[in-house]
């Protein structure tokens, strides 16, 4: 067991960050982060605006180069990965899920298969099966022949999620997938992500809704000004104390049946955060 001897092992499965610093526009957005993201389950990434959540996802994807520290995926530095090989393993749902041409939903979802084409050549049958399964998983089969530009916000996110799922990634990174959606679509998208985690994927999802994080995630990572403020089970991380500390809010935390809910209720009294 050589790993046990290492005081700070690089995890062999999934992402491992060690001492990561990332600067954007001369400002340190992530400031010394140690984090392991791997194994089946759903990880909620929460924190105030500007805490570095999106930057963290972009760093995991290799879009941003850390100025210090290391980012490994499956024990290999992300920068050393062949891009197509990494794309087969890690799916990324960008914020806002843009689309520029009125391609059909089916063709958009089919784009999720492109990394596999580049590695193994086209396999029409397998691709079609993956696309059909992904459309079914997100409940958008009926939109198959519609233009991707004619969709409502909720439909579009589910189509883009189907695009990611069609690529059959082991790890799924989703940047605020429920932003701007009505409660129905929010729950629907979260359920798709939850099902994906239950199927054995690592799902990392950036959220602002604390109750959704509490309800759906196995683990919550709380970022504050580029640093890890808390990391653990929702019940531990989403405590009134840490929410007061990080967000400057007083929150109601309770249980409905067995599930946890967190309701930000009022701004905290002047605190260290407000004084800054």
């Amino acid at each position: 067991m050589p790993l046990a001897l290492d005081p700070d092992p690089i995890f062999a499965d999934g992402f491992s960050l060690r001492g990561v610093r990332v600067s954007r526009g001369g400002r340190g957005v992530i400031d010394g982060l140690d984090l392991d993201l791997g194994g089946a389950g759903m990880v909620g990434l929460i924190g105030p605006n500007g805490a570095g959540k999106t930057t963290l996802l972009k760093t995991l994807m290799g879009f941003l180069e850390p100025s210090a520290g290391t980012v490994h995926f499956d024990a290999r530095p992300v920068a050393d990965w062949d891009r197509a090989a990494l794309a087969c393993r890690v799916g990324y749902l960008a914020q806002g899920a843009p689309c520029f041409w009125p391609m059909t939903v089916e063709n958009v979802v089919g784009l999720g298969r492109t990394p596999h084409h580049r590695r193994f050549g086209t396999d029409g049958l397998k691709d079609r099966a993956a696309v059909t399964a992904a459309l079914a998983a997100t409940g958008v089969e009926h939109l198959r022949d519609r233009s991707a530009l004619d969709l409502s916000g909720g439909e579009r996110v589910r189509v883009m999620l189907a695009r990611v799922l069609a690529g059959a990634p082991d790890v799924l990174l989703a940047d605020e997938p429920v932003a701007g959606l009505d409660p129905h679509y929010q729950l629907q998208v979260m359920e798709v992500l939850r099902a994906s985690a239950d199927a054995g994927r690592t799902v990392v999802v950036v959220l602002h809704d604390l109750t959704l994080a509490a309800r759906f995630c196995d683990r919550v990572v709380l970022l504050d000004r580029g640093k890890l403020a808390a990391d653990g089970a929702p019940i531990d991380v989403l405590s009134p104390e840490s929410l007061h500390e990080v967000f400057g809010v007083t929150a109601l935390v309770g249980r409905h049946r067995e599930a946890l809910y967190v309701l930000p209720w009022s701004l905290s009294q002047p605190t260290a955060r407000a004084a800054e």
Binding site: R83, C88, N107, V108, G112, T114, H117, R128, D145, R163
Partner: protein, 344 residues
């Protein structure tokens, strides 16, 4: 709205439609090519065209077909394909239906390069100077354009940068014409700039073809990356594509294809704008599939336009570039109006 299509019938329908489209474009090119061979000042009966094309003798018909009309038709197809393909690639890269080699200044910069080669006598030293200078001009201009437009260029920025580039290169061409010691030479430059396929020889084909092929290969290979770019730069990168490599391939590919075309035919505009726009709905708006379709469509349209100039009852033969501009510019205006109404 929600059409119910079973997966099986959908799978049958789409590849069939695609095959039909490409077969139709191929047929159009073949028919227009033959018509182009049959057109000219000397009347050659339809039945005599093919025999004259393959005849190994020095009969007048064989000479006319093989040495005058065949190069013209081949160049029409090659230049048209280059323009259509480049237009489709630029529109895919910029995610903007208004991008086109002429509008963004690539064609006029290639023309400037060619004028420099002509004006300073490099073209007289070696015929290769013409395409090389034209391609260099095009590469330089496209790099300047990207530097001006920045990382995520909007419609307005691209058009303005293109206008600025076109004005600058146009002014520099005017300087060359203005300062030319030989009025005959400057007239020649002016006529050449208008764009034409008349009086070209098979040497022109061999001069342009290798450069065009390089450009075509570079551009056609961009298909999957351009498809992925439909979902934005980050998503394309997350699917494993390098955006820097894609930009470079489109810039260099366009410069080679268009530069080589401009070197042998002068500046011919709007093919790269009109063709992708017409064909886009037929390929399901997929930027990758649009590349080969636009190449074929461009070949067909330029062959048709070159037939058009020969059929026009004008005293002197109408210049090809003038015709494409006359038809293309209003098309461009309508496109801008539509773009203003819809976000895309």
């Amino acid at each position: 709205m929600d059409s119910i299509v079973t997966p099986a019938s959908a799978a049958l329908r789409r590849p069939a439609a695609r095959t039909l489209l490409f077969a139709g474009l191929g047929l159009a090119i073949a028919v227009l090519f033959v018509i182009s061979l049959g057109l000219g000042t000397v009347h050659i009966p339809a039945g005599r065209i093919f025999p004259a094309l393959v005849a190994a003798d020095d009969s007048p018909f064989a000479i006319i077909i093989q040495e005058i009309r065949l190069p013209r038709a081949i160049l029409g197809a090659l230049v048209g394909a280059s323009l259509g393909l480049s237009g489709a690639a630029l529109q895919g890269l910029l995610r903007n239906p208004l991008a086109e080699p002429a509008i963004i200044g690539t064609s006029s910069s290639a023309a400037l390069g060619a004028v420099v080669a002509l004006y300073y006598g490099f073209a007289a030293l070696t015929p290769l100077a013409l395409p090389i200078f034209a391609i260099s001009g095009a590469v330089l201009a496209t790099l300047v354009l990207f530097a001006l437009a920045g990382r995520d260029p909007g419609v307005l920025t691209i058009i303005l940068a293109g206008v600025a580039l076109s004005s600058l290169t146009g002014a520099l061409i005017s300087v060359a014409i203005n300062l030319s010691p030989d009025p005959h030479a400057s007239l020649e430059i002016v006529f050449w700039l208008l764009g034409s396929l008349a009086e070209r020889s098979i040497d022109h084909v061999w001069l342009a073809l290798p450069f065009m092929l390089v450009g075509w290969v570079l551009l056609l290979r961009c298909g999957p990356a351009l498809d992925a770019l439909t979902l934005g730069e980050e998503t394309a990168a997350s699917l494993g594509f390098s955006l820097q490599r894609l930009r470079l391939a489109v810039v260099v590919g366009t410069a080679f294809a268009v530069g080589a075309g401009v070197a042998v035919s002068g500046a011919i505009g709007f093919i790269g704008l009109v063709v992708p726009h017409l064909l886009r709905p037929l390929v399901g708006h997929r930027p990758g599939l649009l590349l080969p379709a636009s190449a074929m469509g461009g070949a067909a349209l330029l062959l048709a336009a070159d037939i058009g100039v020969r059929l026009m009852p004008t005293h002197a033969e109408f210049k090809l570039g003038v015709l494409t501009a006359l038809l293309g510019a209003p098309f461009f205006l309508v496109l801008i109006l539509n773009t203003r109404r819809r976000p895309l």
